[in-house]
Amino acid sequence: MYQSPSELEGIMIVRYFILSILLFAFLFPRICSATVSALSEDDQMCMNCHNEEQFIFFESGEKLSVRVKLEDVLSSVHKVVGCVNCHGFTSAEHPKRNFKTRKQYSSFSAKMCTKCHVSHKTQIHKKLMSHAPAGTVCTDCHGSHSVRFAREMSAGNRYCLGCHSRELVMKFKNGEKQDIQIDEKILNQSVHKNLSCTDCHFGFSAEDHPVRAFKSKRDYSIAMSDSCRRCHFDKYTKTLDSIHFNLMTQGNLSVPVCTDCHGAHSILSGRKEKLSNAKKCGQCHAEIYRVYANSVHGGALISEHNEDAPICSDCHRAHDIVDPKTLGFRSIIPNMCGNCHANKELMKKYGLSTAVVDTYLQDFHGVTLKFYKQQGNLKPIAVCIDCHGIHDITKARGDGEDLIKANLLRRCQKCHPDATPNFPDSWISHYEPNFKKAPMVYAINLLYKIFIPFMIFGLLLQILLHIWRYAVNK
């Protein structure tokens, strides 16, 4: 399939000639009506016979239908080329030829393509042809009588899949390999099923398939995740604030990018599968995932498939994941827990009190935290996780109760070093004071609730009587 430079030049001239004819055909679409009359006289002659079902037979015993569907020809971009230009003979001179196999015939026919098209020698075609199984010819991908504009073929993803549904491997400079065979089934299950390949693989098109060289598989993933921001800009800007992005700018390339969590061709809605979402974080944060899986929340999610249970992203967020060791993160913990634990409807399902959040917020530490946040000078102060645990949150009743009590004293002593075992009891454990729990507090509050209005009302009455007496006497 090699031509000398002078031959190539000749091919180019023919090519431009044909392209100008194509342009002509495009400008006068009336020519394209679906009748034989739309074809040249010579071609009409060919169609007289090839309109009907008939076969040629090969020595191997294979047969091939030589019927040409009129609509294929008419819809083809080669419609104006004429049978003779590809097949090399006319109805008047119809040589009898013998081919051993069907394959031999098709590779013989495909040589005709290279008379005009040279792109098999450039770009991705060249690369592909060097890897392609022996005997792969143009028509295998582009079809024969139905040849179309490449851009028309790319309207769907079929064009790309024409190659990428085959076994293909991409190689990186460091020797790593990436399978780039795409399963159409997976593609169609993705939320992106209505997008075309080139929406994400921008820079690529039917005409243009740049050959790029990436250092490593990881480099490629990171580069590709840039595609996502073209549509999901809000999420992208959020990730700029995340600890992952921050680490990446410091040169850590193993931090996750979009596709590490969302997948590439199999992208699913991020909200649907809670458990698999949590597991994704576990890919890197394995130890934390293990602890989480044993917690009251992780346990409910994993063993009971309880979708109410929070997963990693419910507290750490999905895109703008901040460093959880900062005071800023610590300061929003009561709000995070409150997202569920102050939700009456949700807590009712599990017989949990929603007073837990408010009792904290109204108490010394809650008030302090509130003002620290308002002041913008954060200092560590006890929040939910200090007593209840972080990833290892346990039930506050039953077995967990003693554990929390023990946590409590240890946590108290961090800031109140001289705290004794009595000290944690000064926190009345999220209960609104009542007669059973904290009777003293309850009694004092009740007493004042009666006494204050009684006193103030009495004094006001005296004042009014005094004024009245004064007015009467005057």
Partner: protein, 250 residues
């Protein structure tokens, strides 16, 4: 009668006046920094705390003012005790049975069931009520306040529940004290028709003879005897409306 109007009788020692204002400042600071903590959800509270320099600053001011208030309260108790025990001061703030009957008498008078208001001594029952309110309430606030300041030390001896109980006492008592002061004390010192626009005794330490005869007739009699008090007899026996007139005519 006209002559008496310009006559003033010394009522308070200058130290007592200074004591009052020191107490007033402490009280004001304590209520501002304390109630804004109790009612932290209100915007005004947040404005106050933020302008004081944040919650830690507000708490610091509250606690140090608490120390000032404690010192004032204890010096008062000591001075008063020493005065009564060793310097023959009249224990004029001691509550007697008469104070209770005075309340009833005065109420009867207000309701028109009696011709005369209660005849009071150096301090009438309203003043005794406020005085003991400040002393007893103050001691309670001091006690519970220190419990809240040093919870770890307190729970070495007492069960943990005493801390929230102390908080309940401290905050409720604070609200009560605040309301009594702005309702009762401010009325009696400023808005009461007897003193309006301002009771000046706490500034000058002197009371007009007419007012003294009207408000503290027993003390007047004790000090000046009945002989000095021909006008007193006239006054106390004349209709209360007459007394009102003298008040109206400063």
């Amino acid at each position: 009668m006209k002559k008496q109007d310009n006559e003033y009788i010394k009522r308070l020692h200058p130290l007592r006046i200074k004591e009052h204002w020191a107490n007033a400042i402490a009280f004001l600071l304590l209520t501002v920094t304390g109630l804004s903590q109790r009612f932290h959800d209100y915007e005004l509270s947040q404005w106050i705390i933020m302008n004081l320099g944040g919650i830690d600053a507000a708490r610091l001011i509250h606690r140090y003012t608490g120390i000032l208030f404690t010192l004032l309260t204890f010096q008062h108790i000591l001075v008063a005790s020493f005065g009564v025990l060793f310097f023959k001061w009249q224990p004029s703030m001691v509550i007697h049975k008469k104070d209770f009957t005075d309340v009833i008498d005065n109420l009867k008078y207000y309701l028109g069931m009696s011709e005369h208001p209660a005849r009071c001594d150096r301090f009438d029952y309203k003043q005794k009520f406020e005085y003991w309110g400040v002393v007893v309430g103050g001691l309670l606030m001091i006690f519970t306040g220190f419990m809240l300041w040093f919870p770890a030390q307190v729970t070495r001896i007492l069960p943990g529940e005493f801390i929230p109980a102390a908080k309940a006492l401290h905050t409720n008592e604070a609200l009560l004290a605040f309301l009594v002061i702005i309702v009762w004390h401010v009325y009696n010192a400023i808005f009461s028709p007897d003193v309006f626009p301002l009771d000046t005794v706490i500034f000058t330490g002197k009371i007009s003879k007419a007012r003294m005869i009207h408000e503290h007739p027993l003390e007047y009699e004790r000090l000046f005897g009945v002989t000095h008090g021909d006008s007193l007899i006239e006054n106390s026996e004349s209709s209360p409306a007459g007394v009102g007139e003298t008040e109206q005519d400063p």
